[in-house]
């Protein structure tokens, strides 16, 4: 994975570069807007992380320029402005996801993975499969090892999201935004309880367990470890 990071805060950029390299990505870094735009058009990246407030050229202008020139690389916008209208402005300018500072690296990493995945599998699927767990999106049924599992509508959407992002870490915020469609801070870990209910239905009595908790980050659905 090749990532372009356009961020003027040296400390944050250094930290992010180090952390991204640790998870096995190639990172290029630009410290101001103009340089960032030149790098973005000059090379092929899998995903870009662009800060909104930059010297010489702001993040949204870079994004608009890229989109106007036909560049479709997924972009994650970073911003200290976390309000809804700022987020909307970011997405409208052509951003694919928006993350407000401060954030945990796990959250950023999970979102980057999700962006990459979105780029590759855009064809409409009717069946999802992870190990022996199968989901039929048309019949709205879930089967594991040939045994039918009955799920509430919300549990179905939750599992669908996890299966679509199988093998990737998904954070609680990502789940709240995508499955419940609300942007808010739940204070207590309401999601954990929903996950443990779902886990009871899809993992209890089956082997191996598929739904794992990733400490300090979120959850992952995968068939080994």
């Amino acid at each position: 994975m090749r990532v372009l990071l356009i961020e003027d805060d040296e400390q944050l950029a250094g930290y992010l570069q180090k952390a991204l390299r640790e998870v096995g990505t190639v990172v290029d870094h630009a410290g101001d807007g103009r340089e960032g735009l030149l790098m973005a058009v000059g090379a092929d990246y899998d995903v870009m992380i662009i800060d909104r407030m930059l010297p010489s050229l702001d993040g949204l202008s870079i994004l608009r320029t890229l989109r106007a020139s036909g560049n479709r690389t997924p972009v994650l916008i970073l911003s200290a402005l976390g309000e809804v209208d700022d987020r909307v402005a970011g997405l409208r300018a052509g951003g694919d996801d928006y993350l407000a500072k401060p954030f945990a690296f796990a959250e950023l990493h999970a979102r980057l993975e999700a962006l990459l995945r979105r780029g590759s599998t855009d064809s409409p699927q009717t069946r999802l499969r992870v190990s022996d767990l199968e989901m039929d999106l048309l019949a709205r049924t879930v089967v594991r090892s040939g045994k039918g599992i009955s799920l509430q509508p919300r549990e179905f959407r939750l599992l669908e999201y996890l299966m679509r992002h199988a093998g990737q870490v998904v954070t609680r915020t990502m789940l709240l935004e995508s499955v419940w469609d609300y942007r808010f801070d739940p204070q207590t870990n309401v999601i954990d309880v929903h996950i443990s209910r779902l886990r009871a239905k899809i993992d209890r009595g089956f082997d191996p367990p598929l739904l794992h908790t990733v400490r300090g980050a979120g959850y992952i659905l995968r068939d080994n470890q």
Binding site: E83, V84, D85, V88, W180, Y182, Q187, T188, V190, V193
Partner: protein, 464 residues
């Protein structure tokens, strides 16, 4: 209000200008009246004299000197008051017949008109009065003079002039008086606004511009100014509170974090790597918590200072309540609490969907956190006449009546709640969200427990 300030004031100048304008128009009007009355009378007299002298000239032509003398004598005898003046004189201006003793020595205009003093004639000889006459030269070098005593006419002139002058004086006095009164009234009200602004500039933000409730321009100006001041005061208070909060309430956890890290560094060599990493984990947790508190504070401040309702959408409170219940039901079930929703009918409101969801989530979260196991939590919605409302009621310990206002303060925690994790910002955020929606948040006794209700303002009639 000093005189020089009065003279400099815009309203006074305006009043003065209006006064001059009205005086000007009154002068024009009175001038016309004078011309139409006194002037008309003058012209009447002139044309009568003109007609008479032409008549006499014709008589002279047809009947000769004797005939003319007869007519003049007759007219004189018919006019004992002497209102008319006649004189026929020969070539050397010696009188032949008429009621004047001499040919008057006064300049004659090109058209034959003259004015002279009547002295030796009339009943009242002591008095001099003016006569206006026309002279005519007859064939045979005779001079004819016909005139009128204009004493009465002049008296009338004076009368009219006097009346007009008084009228003008009264108008001027009235205009000046009303102008002064008006400008001092207007200045008084502007001065009230100035006074308030000065007091505010000196630091008293609670001052308000006095209103008289009349709903006129000044009253509306005062109302708008007051609204603006209220908003400014609120924003200032919010800014001050955030800085106060940072000073008071964030120092403690920061100190704790720093102490924890210092202890980890200065630990004795026997400490296992496990223990050190646990200390670091704890420090990270502290830092995360601090960040969370910061975010919550900033969020509240931002919501409070946000005025635009631009991104409000039409939404259904009942639907929001269902979603909240569905999200929190498993959490409640884990604590053996029963979470249910009352009211299925749609309750339309206009608002920010995510923020309202956050507010409801905070209320439900509080209910689950503070009510003991076995309690019932009910989310209710209703579209009452007074406006839409949504409530979260529990059967837990509730909040004592005297603390129900305090719990909305930032970082305030009741003694009973201190053992439970929490930032003390949840209800502050609920209030900020409610304020932003112009809604009221009410805490009441649920007997037993607490009932928190958000009451939305009644929606105005909308075209759609």
């Amino acid at each position: 209000m000093t005189t020089s300030r009065l003279l400099r004031s815009f309203t006074f100048r305006l009043a003065l200008l209006y006064m001059l304008l009205s005086l000007g128009s009154v002068v024009v009007l009175l001038g016309y009246i004078y011309w139409a009355t006194a002037g008309y009378m003058d012209r009447q007299v002139d044309s009568t004299i003109e007609a008479e002298i032409r008549g006499l000239a014709e008589q002279y032509q047809s009947r000769g000197l004797v005939g003319l003398s007869d007519i003049i004598s007759e007219r004189v005898s018919h006019d004992p008051k002497g209102a008319s003046v006649y004189l026929l004189a020969d070539a050397s201006f010696a009188p032949i017949v008429g009621n004047l003793s001499d040919w008057p020595r006064a300049p004659v205009s090109a058209s034959g008109w003259m004015r002279f003093e009547l002295r030796d004639w009339g009943r009242d000889r002591s008095e001099e009065h003016e006569a206006r006459a026309r002279t005519f030269r007859l064939r045979g070098d005779l001079h004819l003079l016909v005139g009128r005593d204009v004493r009465d006419l002049q008296a009338t002139h004076r009368l009219i002039l006097d009346a007009l002058t008084w009228g003008l004086a009264i108008t001027a006095a009235l205009a000046l008086g009303v102008g002064l009164l008006m400008s001092s009234r207007v200045m008084h009200r502007i001065e009230a606004i100035n006074l308030t602004s000065r007091e505010i500039m000196e630091g008293d933000l609670s001052r308000r511009v006095p209103r008289d409730g009349s709903g006129d321009d000044f009253d509306r100006l005062a109302e708008n100014l007051n609204r603006m001041l209220e908003r400014i005061e609120k924003l200032m208070a919010a800014v001050r509170q955030v800085s106060d909060n940072i000073a008071h309430d964030l120092r403690t956890p920061l100190t704790r974090l720093s102490t924890r890290l210092e202890q980890a560094r200065n630990s004795n060599p026997q400490q296992t790597p496990d223990e050190i990493s646990r200390a670091i984990d704890q420090a990270i947790e502290d830092a995360q918590e601090l960040l969370g508190t910061f975010n919550a504070l900033l969020r509240i401040a931002r919501i409070e200072s946000r005025s635009s309702q631009g991104d409000f959408t039409d939404l259904d409170l009942a639907c929001l309540a269902q979603d909240i219940a569905e999200l929190y039901e498993p959490v409640a079930a884990e604590k053996d609490q029963e979470l249910s929703v009352e009211g299925q009918d749609p309750v339309p409101v206009r608002g920010d969907r995510d923020l309202l969801f956050q507010a409801l989530a905070n209320l439900v979260d509080n209910a689950i956190k503070y009510a003991p196991p076995g309690c019932r939590i009910t989310i209710g919605t209703a579209g009452r006449d007074a406006g839409a409302e949504v409530s979260v009621a529990d059967t837990g310990p509730g909040i004592p009546a005297d603390l129900r206002e305090k719990v909305f303060q930032r970082f305030y925690r009741t003694d009973a709640s201190r053992s439970t994790p929490g930032s003390g910002l949840g209800l502050s955020l609920v209030r900020a969200v409610a304020d932003m929606h112009e809604a009221r948040i009410l805490l009441a006794d649920n007997a037993p427990g607490l009932r928190a209700t958000i009451v939305f303002p009644k929606r105005g009639l909308e075209p759609d």
